[in-house]
C-alpha cells in the first residue's frame, strides 16, 4: 500500500467513524515508521476536516461530530509519543476555554474544545460556571494565546464583557485574543465589548482561532 493510499484509508476511517480501523492504522503507521507528521496532516486531520464539513452541511449531527473528534484524539494519543524529538507536531496555539460564571451550559463549549484539540491546538477546558478572574488566572498560567468564553444566556453574556474589562484593568489586553461563543452572541455584542471575534459553531470557531493566530 502506498503512503497516499494509507492517508486516504485513514481519512476514510475517520469520516466513517470507524474507530477500530482508525486506531489500527495509527498503530500500523507507528510500526512501519511512516512519516507520522504526514500521517497526521494528510490522514487524520484531513478526515476530521471532512467530518466538520459534513456537520456544517447538515449531513452529520452532534453525535457524529463528537465521535469523529474523539476517535481523532484517541489516535493522536497513540501517534504523538512516537514522534521523533524535534519533529513534534507543532501545537497551533494554546486556548483556554470556559463557560462563564452563572451559566451551566457546557455542550457547545465542549464541542468547540474537542474540535480545536482535534485540529491540533492545545486546549484547557475549564468547564462551566467559571468566574472571569479564574479564566484569566489560568490563561496567564498556561501562557494562552486565546481565551474562549461561552455564554448561552443573554443574562450571563455580561460576564463575557467582564473578561475584557478585567484584562484591561490588569494591562493584559494585548496579551490574549478573546473570543466569544454561545447562541445569543452577535457581532454587535463583540464590537460593543471590544472582543476579537465570535463564532456560530465549532467549525467557524476553528477558522476564527486560526485566522487570529495567522495559522
Amino acid at each position: 500500500m502506498s503512503q497516499e493510499e494509507i492517508y486516504t484509508e485513514i481519512c476514510n476511517a475517520i469520516v466513517n467513524l470507524d474507530e477500530e480501523k482508525a486506531i489500527n492504522l495509527a498503530k500500523k503507521a507507528v510500526k512501519e515508521e511512516i512519516d507520522l507528521l504526514e500521517v497526521i496532516e494528510n490522514g487524520y486531520a484531513a478526515g476530521i476536516r471532512r467530518v466538520g464539513e459534513l456537520w456544517e452541511e447538515g449531513e452529520f449531527f452532534l453525535p457524529e461530530l463528537m465521535k469523529g473528534a474523539q476517535i481523532m484524539q484517541n489516535c493522536m494519543d497513540i501517534i504523538i509519543p512516537h514522534l521523533q524529538k524535534g519533529s513534534e507536531r507543532i501545537s497551533l496555539g494554546t486556548v483556554v476555554i470556559a463557560t462563564i460564571e452563572g451559566d451551566i451550559h457546557s455542550i457547545g463549549k465542549t464541542i468547540v474544545a474537542t474540535m480545536l484539540r482535534a485540529y491540533g491546538f492545545e486546549v484547557f477546558d475549564l468547564g462551566a460556571d467559571v468566574p472571569a478572574e479564574k479564566i484569566i488566572d489560568i490563561a496567564i498560567e498556561k501562557n494562552a494565546d486565546i481565551i474562549g468564553v461561552s455564554a448561552l444566556l443573554t443574562t450571563t453574556m455580561i460576564g463575557q464583557k467582564k473578561i475584557i474589562d478585567l484584562l484591561k484593568e490588569k494591562n493584559l489586553a494585548d496579551k490574549f485574543k478573546v473570543i466569544f461563543g454561545g447562541a445569543p452572541v452577535t457581532s454587535t455584542w463583540v464590537e460593543e465589548c471590544n472582543a476579537d471575534g465570535f463564532a456560530d459553531n465549532a467549525i467557524e470557531a476553528i477558522q476564527l482561532v486560526k485566522s487570529l493566530l495567522n495559522k
Partner: protein, 292 residues
C-alpha cells in the same frame, strides 16, 4: 377525564399556554438563575404568569417545572430542594387554575446527553425523570415532555412517567430545519421520532421551541401526513434579535397567530407558544379559535 373528552371532540382546539422563561426574564429573572427556583423565591411572580395565561384563554397551562429533574438541578447545586421546588410549583398553579381547565406537568430535558456528546446513561435519565414525575403526579392532569432533542431521552422519560402515572402524555421534540428536512440536533429525523412515538402509544405527538411559527407550519404539513395522532405545536415567536445582553422576539403577534391558524386548518389539535410568546399572544389565539 376532561382532556380525553377534548381529544375526542373533533370541534375542540385545545389552547395551551405561551412561554414561561421569557416572561420571567421580562419580569427581571436574575442572571443564571433557574426559573424553577422562582417557585419558592418569588411565588407571586409565577402565580401571576399562570393567572395571566388562564385569563388570556389557555385551556391548560404548564407547571413551572421544566428544569426540575435531579440531574438538571444538580448543576445548580439545588438537587436537595427538588421536593420543595415541585411542591411549590404545584401550589402556585393550582391556586389559579380555573374550573374546567387543566394543569399540565412540564418535563424538560435533563441537560445531559448520551455519549459521545455527553456521559449520561439511560438509567440516570430514567431515575431522574422518575423522581420528578413521582413528585408532580399528585397535582397534575396530564404530562407534557418537551424540548427534547434525543428521541432516546424522550422514550426514557415516557417510560419513567408510565411507571408512576396513567395520565395522558404529550411528547414534543424540538427540531431544526436542515436541507434534508427537520432533524433534532442529535440527528433524529421528524419521521423517525413520529414513528417511535407512535410505537410508544403517547396520546399526543408534538413539536416545540427552536423554530418559529413559519417553519412550524412547514414541519406540521409533513407531520400530519405521518401520523393520525393528535398533534401539538408550540413554536417560538419567530427568531430572536439580540441586542447587547438582551433578546427581543419581535415577530408581530398577528403573523404568529396567522401561522397557528393555518396549522389549525391543517389539523393541529393543540396550539400554544414557546419562547417569546406572551399572554397577549394567547389572547389573540383565543379570539381566533373562538371564531372558528
Amino acid at each position: 377525564m376532561l382532556f380525553n373528552d377534548w381529544l375526542e371532540d373533533n370541534s375542540k382546539i385545545i389552547l395551551f399556554n405561551g412561554a414561561m422563561g421569557t416572561e420571567l426574564i421580562k419580569r427581571g429573572l436574575p442572571p443564571g438563575k433557574i426559573p424553577d427556583l422562582m417557585n419558592i423565591e418569588n411565588p407571586e411572580m409565577i402565580i401571576d404568569i399562570h393567572k395571566s395565561y388562564y385569563k388570556a384563554g389557555s385551556d391548560m397551562c404548564q407547571t413551572n417545572s421544566f428544569g426540575s429533574t435531579p440531574m438538571n438541578l444538580k448543576r445548580y447545586n439545588l438537587e436537595d430542594q427538588i421536593e420543595d421546588i415541585i411542591t411549590k410549583a404545584l401550589e402556585n398553579i393550582r391556586k389559579v387554575c380555573p374550573k374546567d381547565h387543566l394543569v399540565v406537568a412540564d418535563i424538560g430535558p435533563t441537560g445531559e446527553f448520551r455519549p459521545p456528546v455527553g456521559s449520561a446513561t439511560l438509567e440516570q435519565w430514567h431515575s431522574s425523570f422518575s423522581t420528578q414525575a413521582k413528585l408532580l403526579e399528585k397535582g397534575v392532569d396530564l404530562w407534557h415532555i418537551e424540548t427534547i432533542s434525543d428521541i432516546e431521552e424522550m422514550i426514557t422519560a415516557i417510560k419513567a412517567i408510565r411507571g408512576v402515572s396513567q395520565k395522558p402524555i404529550i411528547a414534543s421534540m424540538t427540531y431544526q430545519k436542515t436541507k434534508r428536512g427537520f432533524f433534532t440536533i442529535m440527528g433524529d429525523s421528524l419521521e423517525k421520532c413520529i414513528e417511535l412515538l407512535e410505537n410508544e402509544k403517547v396520546d399526543v405527538i408534538g413539536a416545540n421551541c427552536t423554530i418559529g411559527s413559519k417553519e412550524m407550519v412547514e414541519l406540521f404539513k409533513i407531520a400530519v401526513k405521518l401520523t393520525n395522532k393528535p398533534f401539538s405545536v408550540k413554536p417560538n415567536a419567530g427568531q430572536p434579535r439580540i441586542e447587547g445582553a438582551r433578546t427581543y422576539y419581535e415577530q408581530p403577534i398577528v403573523e404568529f397567530t396567522k401561522d397557528i391558524y393555518e396549522m389549525i386548518q391543517n389539523g393541529a389539535k393543540i396550539v400554544g407558544g414557546c419562547c417569546g410568546t406572551s399572554p397577549q399572544t394567547i389572547k389573540e389565539l383565543r379570539k381566533i379559535i373562538d371564531s372558528i
